[in-house]
């Protein structure tokens, strides 16, 4: 966290009194930002409004815009329809954590090799990684489904975990990060002091990339949490559901009960919003560090 702060403060910005006139923030600029903030937050607010008022209160003109008293009634209704909802949330945390840790681990070692080691075929391997990122992710979904069935993993959490352990994106991202953040001189002087590849990775690369690894892990966790179609295809019994499949189950059990649906959506979203309060700033840095500049 303190690192993030330090970086934030070193951003180039001219002293306030020297700001040229053309650089003054206009009222319209702030207005646009406030509007975007409103639009970004409103759907979450609305989720809560509907979930706390019930469908009838919402189905009138003009609709209620303030929270109502029925929030706990709606939530308990969610648990009536799907008693395994907590289990689903736990499953999601479990899968997300394993996937995040594995992706960071495998991406970091591969990214290190691609960034700092010289071995034959290295260049073609990197090119291969980049090309695979361009392929539509749904292209192989039918054979993957067959493969998971053949392995006996249908309706188990393994079907979600194993195929997600590595991603081309993660490897590429880590390569960029290690290339940009770890100076070659450090590694050179370490190897002059007798450190091998493992030692150099462990005691020099890892401490430097800790922040970025955390960000990659967060993104993997979020992606796993929000993944929807694949879990829907491979999971059948409510005990094995993830949060998204559970929310979708609410949708198909009743015609359209908006309060019930939004109650479920709220339960599946609230943990992420709480997480975001703590890690949002680091995610922002991660997105910006990974951007293609110029």
């Amino acid at each position: 966290m303190s690192n993030a702060l330090a970086k934030e403060q070193t951003l180039p910005r001219p002293p306030k009194n020297k700001t040229p006139k053309w650089q003054k923030m206009s009222f319209m600029g702030y207005f646009a930002l406030v509007l975007v903030t409103f639009l970004s937050v409103f759907p979450f607010y609305w989720m809560f409004i509907v979930a706390s008022n019930g469908t009838e209160e919402i189905s009138k003109i003009p609709p209620t815009l303030v929270p109502g008293p029925r929030f706990f009634t709606v939530i308990s209704h969610v648990y009536e329809v799907l008693p395994q909802f907590n289990q689903a949330l736990l499953n999601t945390v479990y899968v997300g954590t394993i996937v995040a840790v594995a992706q960071v681990f495998f991406s970091a070692i591969a990214g290190f090799a691609f960034a700092k080691l010289n071995f034959r075929g290295q260049r073609y391997m990197v090119l291969f990684v980049i090309l695979t990122m361009m392929l539509p992710s749904q292209l192989g979904i039918i054979p993957l489904f067959m493969l998971i069935g053949w392995a006996g993993w249908i309706d188990t959490l393994l079907a979600l975990i194993v195929p997600a352990l590595v991603t081309a994106f993660g490897v590429f991202w880590m390569r960029q990060v290690i290339d940009a953040q770890v100076p070659n001189e450090l590694l050179e002087s370490a190897s002059i002091d007798g450190a091998g590849v493992f030692r150099a990775y462990w005691s020099i690369v890892l401490p430097i990339i800790r922040q970025s690894s955390f960000v990659l892990g967060l993104f993997s966790f979020l992606a796993t949490w929000n993944d929807f179609l694949w879990p829907l295809l491979v999971l059948n019994t409510p005990e094995n559901f993830t949060a998204q499949v559970a929310v979708n189950q609410l949708k198909s059990s009743y015609a359209i009960d908006y309060a019930l649906n939004m109650g479920g959506a709220f339960l599946s979203t609230a943990p992420l919003l709480v997480l975001f309060i703590f890690v949002g700033r680091r995610l922002v840095r991660g997105v910006m560090d990974g951007a293609v500049k110029g």
Binding site: P14, P43, A110, N118, L135
Partner: protein
Amino acid sequence: MSQATVAKTGKSKPPSPWKPAKPNKKLNNPNAVLSLNGRWGYLFTAPFFVMFLIFGLAPIVYSVYIAFFNWDALGTQEFIGMANFTELVADDRFWNALVNTLDIWLLSTIPMLIMSIGLAAILHNPSLRGSTFWRTILLVPNITSVLAIAIVFGQLFGRDFGMINIIIGALGFEHVDFIQGTTSSHIAIAAMIVWRWTGYNALIFLAAMLAIPGELYESASLDGANKWKQFLYVTLPSLRNTITFVLIVGTIGGLQVFAEPLILGGSYNGGDSGQFSTLTLFLFDQAFVAYKWGYAAAIGIMITFIVAIVSIINFFITRKLAGDGK
């Protein structure tokens, strides 16, 4: 070490001890730390390649294989050559899905690009207060699930009691049945995509803007360029690569859109008359409702080709539009 290798390949001058040796062209990795034993690279990248081979590449290759078969979930496996592809080209549902996908992609990409560059320009202003707060807020839509958001948007776009129609009604217009209409349902889906990705892309553009050297702005303002001209002649051309990147990533994602229409319609049909059926939704419909796996695999291959073609077109258009500074 590096001096020796340069001397071996160097044709013109001997290596100067004062200048660092140029990276050797013959190295596999010009930026590598040569004192580390490179062979460990195979071990370090092996887990990725093994896992990716099994769960990524093999399914894709196999998918190309079964596209030439009449292959269903019950066990039929009959080689039929190009028949899946000829059937697909004659299939109205395919063309309908293609047109819908491109329409949704256009309706979402263009507004998103304009708004995210505009937002980035606002955030780029050095005298903005609370910049960390604004940046963080921009990322909030991106972390939530498409499912949760599609449920909320589905309600907001509802015909009778949706907030948007209530506003339309209050302005004195007829309520719009967003889900039933073709263009209107595309607008609703595009709105979800725009909502989700505008802030994220604004941060990408902001990062690129912060990397533009300040001298460019200084000399432009000395030449009397106002804010708008600076944006037009300094900022935009510098964003060329970033715009290309955002467009290509957005195209790969946008042409595979399925979660939003799937949740909005509640089935793989993409609405009662397929008015918002998309290519990927059509693929899933054939794969997991009709169980025509060979046919679905053929759709997947077509999607890949279409993504590639549109990405290439994008690449050249952005180069042209953003003023290819050679």
